[in-house]
Symmetry: C2
Subunit: 469 residues, 2 copies
């Protein structure tokens, strides 16, 4: 039953959009627009008393008038109409309702009663509710969405996101869509969590073949015991990254008036993360950094990092960062040391972290020397992961003239099983160009070498606990 | 004497460029090109045996042939020629030499001897040396530079940078030039620090009217006691931000082979920072974040932060961040509370952090409500600093339609004495647009609300220790 409802929530074959509109000022327009732009694969039934059609789809005055059964009703009309819509939805065998409408629990006495009413109606009809007071659901694979603000067309990928607050979910979503090269699978903004909560969605995502990495933003946790049991189970199979806010007294106060979340004592939540293996992050940048690492990188087999940096300063700071995170600086094999030394005679001391300038000066050719250094590190059995620190300058005066796309696509083909992260310090133009090329190849890039190591550290922590065979 | 030399180093009225070239593959070309592009105000004397002129300037076969005395000799020819050049420079009354050339202390026995030789020659002639083995000096105000890679034309500003390693200095420089809106004053890459070191440059920058904020990258400190005395003195007048690497055992090992720096025990350096009031940062991102804060923001009078965030999630996370840094969430006055509440009746609870959506919904107009919220916070005597968290989406669907430039230039004019920082979560396009507009107005923006608070925290720490009257 639960499964069925969640499939209707994320993978409906038919949707009624109650409040559909052709007026771009209305949220009901954007839901329709997004469904069309995302090429939703199921049937769309706009519902609006005042219209015969909406954006080319036959429009119905109410849910009751829709001639067939439907999987999912997506609601964006004022709160007082919602109970009636749910009653009619029950007659149409609806299994999932996304209630975007606000004016429920978060809006005082009357809203609290209204939320109770709709839960009762839905409960007896077997309808599961996402929301109310949320932007709701997005499934990149079948094109279903209840998101009511204009968004960039998503790319398919293996990352799913659960967010407590709808607005945050949709802004974070847009940020991801416009900046991140890994694609998305499912997004759930849960709003008031009147019915479905993080645990329900996690159970669905556990079984969802299209989801391999899960990111969560949460202010509160509804049912701690259930959340613990489910995350323990899911975390083994799929890495879960969580940004749990309201960790401080003041944050808790703010959350109370925001989503009505009761504060979880931070030590308790911390203990829960330890027990379950879910990975806690401290801000949005770290959340996105780690999602990218897990989305792009293969499992690591150990914690020994090889660093190749252009400039000695990059070597020094990388060594500091590795020690800061309690990781190991890989001890290169004798063979690797000899190989590297033979190519950089008399230019300085070859070691890990490797100042790649030494090899470049020794070999003369920028591209050859980079390939040589990378291959030496990737072939070394003592190196589990590689962090590359590139410096360039402007587009015209890149320090090394290298066909990045060729070099790194070859490298990825030859060594698909060793994680590689890259950071670039240069003019913004060079950084953006490298980032684009590398992330299109599935190689994560970060704005600083420190964040390179932070990402590798998270990878190592997860895969050392849940090794892949 | 010292003063004079340092003025000749940074503000020469005449420069000999030894190794000047018209071949774009040569570093000596780029030094000339940069001097021309930066419109260096002094006289330029290219020195090259093989040419009569370089890029339109009369060229001399050696320094001895230059018909006049010169302030500064900038050297980019192989190491073995440097002693003779310095001898001739002594005859020309040169006070400062920038030796970009490598092949000295960092290159083994012979280099070590050569470095001793040049120090002896320079010492008896009263010539101070920057380098060798560095990109050297940049003075944005008079256009002098020894930087030998192509760089973006710098903007004038009040930030000066000292970096141990030349390559890092020039790459960091290019990164700053291409991404940061605050301008620069002086940049010094010190290389081997054979003569001039951080302390010498700091003494010069202390007196330099064009420098108000100082950023340092250092792996080692030459003379700890002198550095302590000088930073203690300078730090009072001008904030000093320092990224001191080689903090770990492994980082220390890497630094030893990089710049030959002996490791400073990290607890000792930490204690030095506490004693002197210099602000230590842990990575390049933090260094740039804090330089920007001090470059743009007025001194703060206290640690009470007002937060205006679009989305409740922004409020919750901001409260967490403020508590994390040990800052205070400002207690709004009764007047402010009443004012805000009167504009957002029944939409939710008005407090600090303020969910700006409440006021927007209450007032209807996005721009008016933003101005109203900002003014209420800026007028409140209990608020020392403001962190604004904007969410937008795509360029077409900004959640609030506001003339950012107008709103914030008015605000800056009306309240020049209260620090304001802004972070935006949105599509990359919106983030870039807001960043550009706001930073052109001198308002720092950060990629995350967490970094907003980190910047305000640094500001507060510095100005609470060294209050401005």
């Amino acid at each position: 039953m639960g499964k069925d409802s969640l499939r209707c929530l994320f993978e409906p074959e038919s949707v009624a959009v109650v409040g559909a509109s052709e007026d771009p000022e209305k949220f009901g327009y954007h839901i329709m627009r997004n469904l069309i732009d995302m090429e939703f694969r199921g049937k769309i039934y706009p519902v609006n008393r005042k219209r015969d059609s909406v954006l080319g789809f036959k429009c119905y005055p109410d849910v009751a008038s829709i001639p067939e059964n439907i999987d999912n009703v997506t609601i964006i009309v004022p709160a007082q109409y919602v109970p009636q819509i749910l009653k009619e939805s029950a007659e149409k065998n609806v299994k999932a309702a996304v209630i975007c409408t606000s004016g429920f629990k978060e809006a005082g006495e009357e809203g609290i009663q209204l939320e109770k009413d709709i839960l009762k109606i839905a409960g007896s009809a077997g309808i599961r509710i996402a929301g109310p007071n949320t932007t709701g659901i997005l499934n990149v694979f079948n094109g279903y969405t209840s998101v009511f603000v204009k968004i960039t067309k998503p790319r398919k990928g293996k990352v799913s996101i659960i967010s407590q607050t709808g607005m945050f979910a949709s802004v974070l979503l847009e940020h991801i869509l416009s900046t991140q090269k890994y694609g998305l699978s499912k997004v759930a903004g849960l709003g008031n969590k009147s019915d479905l909560d993080d645990s329900d969605i996690l159970e669905y995502l556990e079984a969802d073949q299209e989801t391999q990495v899960i990111g969560i933003y949460a202010e509160g946790i509804n049912n701690g015991r259930r959340f613990l049991e489910i995350t323990k189970k899911v975390s083994k199979k799929k890495p879960i990254l969580i940004l749990k806010s309201a960790r401080s007294k003041s944050g808790g106060d703010a959350a109370l008036t925001h989503t009505g979340s009761l504060m979880v004592r931070d030590e308790i939540f911390e203990a829960l993360c330890k027990t379950t293996g879910i990975i806690r992050v401290s801000d949005i940048e770290e959340l996105l950094d780690l999602i990218k690492a897990f989305a792009f990188l293969p499992p690591t087999k150990g914690n020994r990092i090889g660093v190749i940096a252009y400039t000695g300063a990059g070597c020094v700071m990388s060594a500091d960062a590795i020690e800061h995170y309690g990781m190991q600086i890989a001890n290169l094999t004798k063979e690797t040391m000899e190989k590297l030394t033979s190519k950089a005679p008399g230019f300085g001391i070859v070691r890990n972290p490797l100042d790649a300038e030494l090899v470049r000066q020794g070999m003369g050719n920028a591209e050859e020397s980079l390939v040589f250094a990378l291959e030496s590190f990737f072939e070394d059995p003592n190196v589990d992961m590689v962090s590359l620190v590139i410096v360039g300058l402007t587009k015209e005066s890149k320090i090394w003239d290298v066909d990045i796309k060729k070099v790194f696509s070859n490298l990825k083909n030859r060594f698909p099983d060793k994680p590689l992260v890259v950071s670039t310090l240069a003019s913004q133009e060079v950084i953006d160009e490298y980032r684009m090329i590398l992330e299109n190849l599935g190689i994560p890039t970060y704005p600083s070498l420190f964040r390179n190591i932070r990402a590798l550290n998270a990878l190592q922590k997860y895969y050392s606990r849940f090794p892949r065979t």
